[in-house]
């Protein structure tokens, strides 16, 4: 069974962390993953940096730019992760924009992910319709879970369609915005979280965008299965480095 599916069955709220591969330094990818696992994180999203990350706010943009300057490439990431399953057992997801994956070759990319032990992919600019028509069979052949986003503006019909195509969890974008840390959520978010919970979807939901601390994590997971922290983690690691990871994670859960 896919590690993500297994993890989703655990009776707890899941904490997932997004970080940019090759950041702050090119060789930090694996040490960051290991430190996050050691600190008790449930699941990881490894960001494959892209020159033009449309859906990201300034923090993740800057980390992507830096990672690319550091020399990060798709091939380099795969090399770094080649032995990752010797030490890491939590679910690993690669999050990246579609163009680098297309250039690598979708089939070759999926093959490589499955060889390494990557469990799933999040590709924000690969729409569910295109995935369903052209790529779903390839992903499934390689045992990969593909994760789709929904937002407060996504229509009910479309959420149902996304739910039907999802084989892992649904990534619930907390509010209409690009990625970036917020200090709290308002009534609109609570309403949205509740509305989605009441839809009784097949796929569990994990909330992302704007989660930054224990308070926002708690608010996001009142109904949802878990939450993802990205920008706030990148900011922390930029300031404190890998040694700051343990305290950061313990401060959330």
């Amino acid at each position: 069974m896919n590690r993500i599916s297994k993890k989703l069955e655990e009776n707890k709220k899941l904490l997932s962390i997004y970080f940019t591969a090759g950041y702050p330094a090119i060789e930090d990818t694996v040490p960051v993953i290991e430190a996050l696992q050691d600190s008790g994180v449930d699941m990881l999203e490894i960001g494959l940096p892209f020159s033009d990350p449309l859906a990201d706010g300034p923090t993740i943009q800057a980390s992507s730019t830096q990672a690319l300057k550091n020399g990060m490439t798709t091939e380099k990431l795969f090399q770094q992760l080649k032995d990752i399953r010797k030490t890491v057992h939590i679910p690993l997801i690669i999050m990246g924009y579609f163009n680098p994956i297309l250039q690598y070759g979708v089939e070759a990319f999926c093959q490589k992910c499955s060889d390494i032990g990557i469990d799933g992919l999040i590709i924000p600019d690969l729409p569910v319709d295109v995935y369903h028509e052209q790529y779903q069979a390839i992903f499934e052949k390689h045992g990969l879970i593909n994760v789709f986003l929904i937002t407060p503006q996504t229509s009910e019909a479309r959420i149902r369609f996304i739910d039907s195509v999802s084989n892992g969890f649904i990534y619930m974008v907390s509010s209409a915005s690009v990625t970036g840390a917020k200090s709290n959520f308002g009534d609109a978010q609570s309403e949205y979280f509740e509305r989605i919970a009441n839809m009784n979807l097949k796929a569990p939901q994990i909330v992302g965008f704007g989660i930054s601390n224990a308070e926002t994590f708690k608010a996001a997971t009142t109904h949802a299965k878990g939450a993802i922290i990205g920008s706030a983690f990148i900011k922390m690691i930029q300031e404190k480095g890998i040694k700051g990871i343990d305290a950061f994670v313990k401060g959330i859960q």
């Binding site: 300034p58 600019d125 986003l149």
Partner: protein, 394 residues
């Protein structure tokens, strides 16, 4: 019959589509579902045509360039988009899109701009309609195109610097898209070229297609025939080209000629000749040809002309290139500047440097004496005076 136009799913051959994050889906989908029916409403057409006539100054003349024709041995006509209000073809699209935004009930407009032409054209129509306008512009472009920045400000627009990435047009486009993600309900994004996710390339093309619609009847009056032998246009993202080709796309007797910016030369590492240097990929929500590293990172183009400085081309043009329907040329900075100056001296017209690229076609292709060649003179050179001054040491 083959068609070089867009299909129902938003593709030109294999190019196009809408590769957008889910956050943009409601807006883009709303537009996709409504743009054709809105454009077909009588009230829309009436207002659009009225504004093009009374405000933009259309029809733009189709001018027979006698001296230029004698010099190059062909019957050369110039489609004078440079005489439009604000000085380029860009306003055809912004008039159309501001009316579209109003029909969709949008209250706020965002746009990206490189040279500032599209930014000015957007700020202009927003002033005309009394709608708030934010224009994203790369920090580097803000510095090198300061008169257009001042124009936008005078017209009441807010110019926001794009500080990310390489701080030029592609980054301004990223910032505009991010703004749209952050403002999903009340905002319309006026894209400035035939690029972006479906339905943008088709919508922009249709608004610009007034260019070839006029060419047909104007040529009928002048030559007793509707179709030229060739249509020629420069390509940045490809909106003036798409409008110039539109009514001739499926008539293979009309040669389609596209001119891209070679910058300092195709092999110089400083070029914007996307069809030659690009590979299939995804940029700003569209599958098309784009300049990128083998790893799929989008690279920075270069051209002396800020309006041609885009690392992709619209999907229509990617298809025209791949299918062989269009003949593509790349013209260096030097060739373009010379052709621009030649037009000044032979016809008394100072062209935009973008348009000068199209005019340089005569150094690259021989025509027959009787060939009717229509060139899109997409803009006037006022905005480029500083570049001309520096280049020619005037």
């Amino acid at each position: 019959m083959d068609t070089y136009n867009v299909n129902e799913k938003g593709y030109y051959g294999e190019f196009g589509g809408a590769y957008i994050p889910e956050m943009l889906y409601p807006n883009v989908e709303e537009l996709r579902q409504q743009y054709l029916s809105i454009m077909n409403e009588d009230s829309f057409k009436e207002e659009f045509n009225q504004l093009l006539k009374d405000y933009v100054g259309r029809p733009s003349p189709l001018y027979f360039a006698k001296r230029l024709s004698e010099k190059h041995g062909a019957k050369i006509y110039l489609k004078r988009e440079d005489l439009n209000h604000t000085g380029a073809h860009k306003i055809n699209n912004t008039i159309g899109q501001i009316l579209m935004a109003k029909k969709l009930g949008k209250k706020r407009i965002i746009a990206e701009t490189g040279a500032g032409q599209h930014g000015v054209a957007t700020a202009t129509v927003c002033a005309l309609m009394g709608i708030d306008c934010v224009v994203y512009m790369g920090e580097i472009d803000i510095a090198r195109q300061s008169p257009n920045v001042a124009r936008m400000k005078m017209l009441g627009a807010e110019v926001r610097p794009a500080l990310s990435g390489s701080r030029t047009l592609k980054d301004a486009t990223n910032e505009a898209i991010r703004d749209w993600i952050n403002n999903p309900v009340d905002t319309h994004y006026i894209i400035g070229s035939a690029i972006g996710p479906h339905p943008y390339p088709d919508m922009v093309t249709r608004f610009q297609s007034i260019i070839s619609e006029e060419i047909k009847w104007q040529l009928q009056e002048k030559e007793g025939r509707q179709n030229p032998d060739y249509v020629v246009a420069c390509i940045g993202g490809g909106s003036n080209a798409a409008g110039t080709y539109y009514h001739f796309l499926d008539d293979e007797k009309v040669g389609i000629i596209a001119v891209e910016a070679a910058g300092k030369g195709i092999d110089s590492g400083e070029s914007a000749a996307t069809s030659v240097l690009g590979k299939e990929g995804i940029i700003h929500g569209c599958k098309t040809l784009l300049m990128q590293t083998p790893d799929g990172q989008i690279t920075e183009p270069y051209s002396i002309s800020a309006g041609l400085d885009y690392p992709g081309v619209g999907p229509m043009h990617a298809h025209l290139y791949n299918s062989g329907r269009g003949e593509f040329f790349s013209v260096t900075d030097n060739d373009a500047m010379k052709a621009g100056l030649e037009l000044c001296k032979t016809e008394g017209i100072i062209p935009a440097i973008e348009s000068s690229h199209a005019l340089a076609i005569f150094n690259h292709k021989k025509f027959n004496q009787n060939d009717v060649v229509v060139i899109s003179l997409s803009g006037r050179g006022d905005k480029d005076l500083n570049t001309y001054i520096d280049y020619f040491d005037l």
